[in-house]
């Protein structure tokens, strides 16, 4: 098996004041995987992913990036390995133009000017920001601003992207764009970790789901498996996408082996197939 890109061993985190946010978390994330991290507010999702780029240091336990212990590294040193895209782009963007925003990260990493321009070109291409380069980040709409936030991390070429709620505040069209971009990031070899409440994103886009409840990982598996586990989901107040819920309820004891569908397309195809028989 390939070395996991991120590995978490017996991770525990206690905030000052004694609030236990994570207890004994173990996790391995493979390169080019798309991971969804879900759970109720306050279950420890954000605390967990903040350990991946050293924004938080473990109270006990270890975090490895590509086999190396991250403990001695600073946030700045981890920035080139793991990129963190904030939920609210307003907390991230500050420059006068989108172009400057894209240049900021790689410049901090000490990348050569030539390379910076190359990366900016690539980012503009990838995120479709051609018309926005000279615009002020605060003067463009929220969904696009969010893409600029992602693009400003993209230019740093991290191996792992952490996307905090990538689809909140987005309309249908931009949500679809985000889905496509996540897949394209993976196709380029990046690992994508999505912290999200968007069940469709989690069902249709993500390869693997990690469920947190009360500072513990209570499930870790394929979305299909996780969504099939009704007791587990309801114990953490998570509701699967409607089409999944429907296929779960339509299942009878007789054909317990029958499919659980994650998307409308899947369901429609299956129904069509069974009609043809």
């Amino acid at each position: 098996m390939a070395t996991p890109i991120l590995k978490v061993e017996n991770l525990q985190h206690v905030y000052p004041g004694g609030v236990v946010a994570l207890r004994d978390v173990n996790l391995e994330i493979k390169p080019a995987e798309i991971i969804g991290v879900i759970g109720q507010n306050g279950s420890g999702k954000t605390t967990l992913v903040k350990h991946f780029n050293n924004l938080l240091k473990p109270t006990s336990g270890k975090v490895y990036f590509n086999g190396t212990d991250t403990a001695p590294l600073t946030i700045q040193q981890m920035a080139k390995n793991v990129g963190y895209v904030y939920q609210n782009p307003n907390q991230q963007l500050f420059a006068r133009t989108v172009q400057e925003e894209l240049e900021f990260g790689p410049r901090n990493l000490g990348v050569s000017e030539e390379e910076i321009q190359e990366r900016c070109e690539a980012a503009v291409e990838f995120f479709g920001l051609q018309d926005l380069r000279e615009k002020h980040p605060y003067r463009i709409g929220f969904p696009l601003r969010k893409l600029v936030g992602m693009a400003s991390i993209y230019t740093m070429r991290p191996a792992v992207f952490i996307l905090d709620e990538p689809t909140t505040g987005q309309d249908n069209v931009t949500t679809q764009t985000v889905y496509r971009l996540i897949h394209r990031l993976r196709d380029e070899g990046a690992t994508v970790i999505c912290v999200a409440h968007d069940m469709i994103l989690l069902a249709e886009v993500v390869d693997r789901l990690v469920v947190l409840r009360d500072s513990l990982v209570i499930a870790d598996g394929l979305p299909r498996e996780v969504f099939a586990n009704h007791t587990l989901l309801s114990s953490s107040h998570l509701i699967p996408p409607q089409i999944t819920e429907l296929s779960l309820r339509m299942r009878t004891d007789k054909d317990a082996s029958s499919q659980i569908y994650l998307s409308v397309d899947e369901y429609v195809n299956a129904v069509k197939k069974s009609r043809m028989k």
Partner: protein, 299 residues
């Protein structure tokens, strides 16, 4: 987000007699202190005011918050001693205590003036902190409203106070966002990328607040009631009356003894003491600056 930083201008919960006293009674003491502290320049009187204040701090058990404030104010006060000693804010002629290099010298009037300024700062700060750190802001504003402070003005103060911790928290989040973009979190270069989002966020927040306030009929006529009610007990009248008596008696006494209390021309300072005082103050201020610079560089 736990930033670990706390601003010392908020309530430190407690149950001392000072915590329980009515905000207005405490206000009388603060106003009294202000009057007395600016009525006299006599270091002894100001020193006594400071000591009474410190005793009250002990009664209220707010040493931690108080020292946080003093940590910043004391070095500034010490620098005043240094500056005043070599250039007193007094009419000439000045009496030279120690001749330093060139035209520099330590003057008696300067030491007197520096000491009174420092003690003025400590006495007034002590009592002001005592009020702020033992009183819930809402109680303070409710009480002020009772004696006729306009509601809108009150509201502005309350909202401003509430905004400070929010902005502080926001600054922590933004700084983390920039650090995860490889920003070295030190020096002036770190300030701009973090300040812009904080200020833009603050302005947006205020705009939204004003809309949401107007949509809830803010500014409509009528009597405003308050969720918090501040009771006035006989004890509060006693505390308030004591404060008033203390102030008036103090002011009258200072007024009658004005010439005796003016030590500007009579204060006897030996050259050694003067040198130790000025150099010590300078050192204190220098250590403060060094500590601050180090903290900023390590951030």
């Amino acid at each position: 987000m736990h930033s670990g930083v706390s601003i010392p201008i908020t309530l430190i919960p407690g149950n001392s007699i000072i915590h329980r006293a009515n905000p207005l009674s405490k206000m009388i003491w603060v106003v009294g202190y202000l009057i007395l502290a600016f009525f006299t320049r006599n270091p002894l009187v100001l020193g006594v005011l400071t000591i009474i204040g410190l005793l009250l701090v002990q009664v209220a058990h707010i040493w931690r918050g108080f020292l946080l404030v003093l940590r910043v104010l004391l070095p500034i006060g010490l620098m005043l001693i240094v500056l005043q000693s070599i250039a007193p804010a007094f009419p000439r002629p000045w009496f030279t205590v120690v001749k330093l290099v060139g035209g520099l010298a330590i003057y008696r009037e300067g030491i007197y003036s520096g000491l009174s300024l420092l003690l003025r700062i400590t006495s007034v700060t002590t009592i002001a902190m005592l009020l702020i750190q033992t009183t819930h802001p809402s109680d303070l504003f409710t009480s002020l409203q009772k004696i006729g402070m306009p509601y809108v003005l009150n509201f502005i103060f309350t909202m401003t106070l509430q905004l400070i911790p929010i902005l502080q928290q926001e600054f922590g989040i933004v700084l983390n966002a920039q650090k995860s973009r490889g920003l070295k979190g030190t020096g002036f270069g770190a300030v701009l990328p973090s300040m812009v989002p904080v200020f833009v966020g603050a302005i947006e927040r205020v705009q939204q607040l004003s809309i949401s306030l107007e949509s809830r009929a803010f500014g409509s006529q009528g009597i405003k009631t308050s969720y918090r009610d501040v009771a006035v007990t006989p004890k509060d009248y006693v505390i308030g009356a004591l404060g008033a008596i203390f102030t008036i008696a103090g002011a009258v006494w200072i007024g009658f003894n004005a010439s005796a209390l003016d030590w500007s021309r009579t204060l006897v300072v030996s050259p050694i003491v003067a040198l130790i005082l000025v150099l010590g103050s300078f050192l204190g201020f220098f250590i403060f600056i060094a500590v601050v610079v180090r903290a900023i560089l390590q951030a």
